[in-house]
């Protein structure tokens, strides 16, 4: 084998390896959750825990998409209902995703966790026209032929902070 061929093989191998490495780094883990008939992806880096919803306690003054408080080991967590934000309808949820966000003590109401999956960044695309005007999602990917919307946690919290400021 000529030097050129060796170098070419090396460079292709290195490139393939590099692509593989980049691909493994550029994946994001999502928790795919059912909210009624719909499925949404929550970035797992924001989720601390999945909890069964035992009791939802009333809290006054908050916007309607804060459905109440849960008692997590004696600490109150505010439960956010994405279904109210998106469809103005209350979700009959049975679980909550406890958020891993400093100083929030909040959780999202869901029906169930469907699966936890790694999604290559290359498979995440911008929203189709049908969803592009909804601020609570910032991308989507396909799973089983269905477009799964990725929840934009920051945007939900921005909305919440704004609403609380003007409450």
């Amino acid at each position: 084998m000529e030097n050129d061929e060796i170098l070419k093989a090396l460079s292709e191998g290195v490139r393939n390896q590099a692509e593989e490495t980049a691909d493994s780094i550029q994946k994001e883990k999502f928790i795919l959750a059912g909210l009624g008939e719909e499925r949404y992806a929550f970035p797992s880096r924001h989720i601390r825990e999945i909890m069964l919803l035992s009791e939802l306690y009333f809290i006054p003054f908050v916007p309607p998409y804060i459905r109440g408080l849960i008692n997590r080991h004696g600490d109150p967590f505010a439960v956010i209902d994405l279904h109210v934000l998106c469809h103005n309808e209350k979700l009959d949820g049975s679980k909550v995703l406890i958020m891993n966000i400093e100083e929030s003590q909040s959780a999202f109401l869901i029906s169930d966790v469907l699966k936890i999956m790694d999604v290559p960044m290359s498979s995440i695309h911008s929203l189709s026209a049908a969803f592009s005007e909804v601020p609570y999602f910032n991308g989507s990917f396909e799973d089983g032929g269905q477009e799964i919307l990725i929840v934009n946690i920051d945007e939900v919290f921005k909305r919440l902070e704004n609403d609380l400021l003007h409450a």
């Binding site: 003054f61 600490d75 929030s104 919290f157």
Partner: protein, 186 residues
């Protein structure tokens, strides 16, 4: 210097609270803000100034009584208080100029002397006194804490008859009521 604010009271101490139960939650009032209580007697009503303010006969003076029950039901969206009512007589309200304004307004209107040292609060008759460990109280979640505190909810407590109790800032609630009443009289 960094300050550290614990999320939960770590002191192993007890405090006395007056607990008023509604359908969805209990209201917890610090007993140290209350001088006494009495069963509400409709016969003692001197006049009903507005739906949120009564004057009760009390010896040779009149006592202003805020309908805190109605206020809490409307503003806190708390449901239900059936049966008799009680009047909690508050204390330590000397540093409340708006109360003084309210009393002056009432004295001008009714041409009579009104008790300036105390204020009555009408609450549901199911109230009871309870000693609670402070460590069972928690601050509201940080996201909603400023809003709740501005409205008069200082802390929360899981447990009790309704599953959740709101420890309220009584002075803030009184101020909101007085401000509402005075704005209605303008």
């Amino acid at each position: 210097m960094t300050s550290f604010m614990p999320e939960k009271a770590t002191v192993d101490s007890l405090a006395d609270f007056i607990v008023a139960s509604y359908a969805d939650a209990d209201l917890l009032i610090n007993c140290s803000e209350i001088q006494s209580s009495q069963v509400f007697d409709p016969e003692a009503v001197f006049s009903e100034v507005s739906r949120n303010l009564l004057l009760l006969r009390e010896n040779n003076k009149l006592l202003a009584v805020l309908n805190t029950d109605a206020f809490v039901q409307a503003e806190f969206s708390l449901k239900g208080s059936l049966g008799e009512s009680v009047i909690l007589i508050t204390k330590n309200l000397e540093d409340m100029p708006s109360l003084s304004n309210l009393i002056s307004y009432l004295e001008g209107k009714e041409e009579t002397v009104i008790n300036r040292d105390n204020l009555g609060l009408k609450l549901p008759g199911n109230i009871h006194r309870r000693e609670l460990a402070l460590e069972t109280l928690s601050f509201p979640p940080p996201l909603i804490r400023p809003l709740l505190q501005a409205k008069g909810i200082l802390a929360l407590r899981f447990g009790g008859e309704r599953g959740i109790g709101f420890f309220v800032d009584l002075k803030k609630i009184i101020l909101q009521q007085i401000s509402q009443i005075l704005s209605e009289t303008d």
